[in-house]
Assembly symmetry: C2
Homo-oligomer: 151 residues x 2
DNA sequence: GCGGATTTATAGCCTTGTCTAACATTTCGC
DNA sequence: GCGAAATGTTAGACAAGGCTATAAATCCGC
């Protein structure tokens, strides 16, 4: 879940102004900390939906990382209460994890639909959406959504 | 510099398809590795432009981190050939660093103008642009640019 | 139901990014 | 031009995210 902080941010000006951007960096770094967790829960939800279970080996293949990396990250997600797991068993989302997954999927869908409705090819749209979805505010999402639904 | 890889990516389908997204993750992780460097060189260029020099203390204040963190990161950027520095002196961009900064600023401007032209308030636009700019492909940038310039 | 193949876990290493504390240098006011 | 304030560096801690190598458990074909 992005925490969507509303730090102080002076008005925009055309010509440079470092101060302008200062506050933004905090929010970006905050969002970055959550990106990986969001990717995981979203993917786990998808795997469970698609194939009935989420196995580390499939998660690893999907993300393009090695299984031990997944294992370690799952430990963290478990510590953070997003998933539950038992040794040598596949992974499940907690209530909280499911909520986060749903939220992520919603954002992903909106960004993807928006990019495609803008005229982007679906492959590029998918790649860009994956990166962008963690960094769009609720306000921007609303605009994206409205645009995609325009007449 | 985003490396803008063009990995294999199957066609989009409305209803889930993990494979779809698989390739996207590689690109996202690649982009993530460069984000911080991009933030730094862009900010350094801005500081030099605005106040004639880029001092660690100002970089730290702008990014919202502590000075030693900046110092360590500058070491890395120096190793990577993006900046030059001398002990207790302020920081300069190399030719390569300047090119990257220019490229980053271009992306930032396009994304920012686009968001504002979509109807987003400037403050939120700035925050979102900061996060989004590292994840937009050239193709998307072209569309953003065209949209912002529409009649 | 055994044994090999697959999957999962663990240990250990590396890098990056963050911090604090302690020390060094430079800058600046007077 | 001296000394205090500001700035910069270094050292060391810690977490996260990645890897390889090795060990353990599960799964499956026969």
């Amino acid at each position: 879940m992005r925490d969507d902080p509303h730090e102080a941010l002076p008005a925009v000006s055309d010509d440079r102004s470092p101060d302008l951007r200062v506050g933004a960096f905090q929010g970006v770094r905050a969002a970055r900390r959550n990106e990986l967790a969001e990717d995981y829960v979203e993917l786990i939800a998808e795997l469970i939906h698609m194939q009935g279970e989420a196995r580390p080996v499939d998660i690893a293949a999907s993300l393009g990382v090695k299984v031990p990396t997944v294992s370690k990250t799952l430990d963290r997600l478990s510590r953070e209460g997003l998933i539950t797991r038992a040794k040598y068993r596949s992974v499940f989302l907690t209530e909280e994890g499911r909520a986060l997954a749903k939220e992520c999927r919603r954002r992903h869908e909106i960004v993807l639909r928006f990019l495609i409705s803008l005229g982007l090819d679906p492959e590029t749209a998918e790649r860009d959406a994956e990166g962008i979805e963690h960094h769009v505010s609720e306000r921007t999402l609303a605009l994206f959504s409205a645009f995609a639904n325009r007449s």
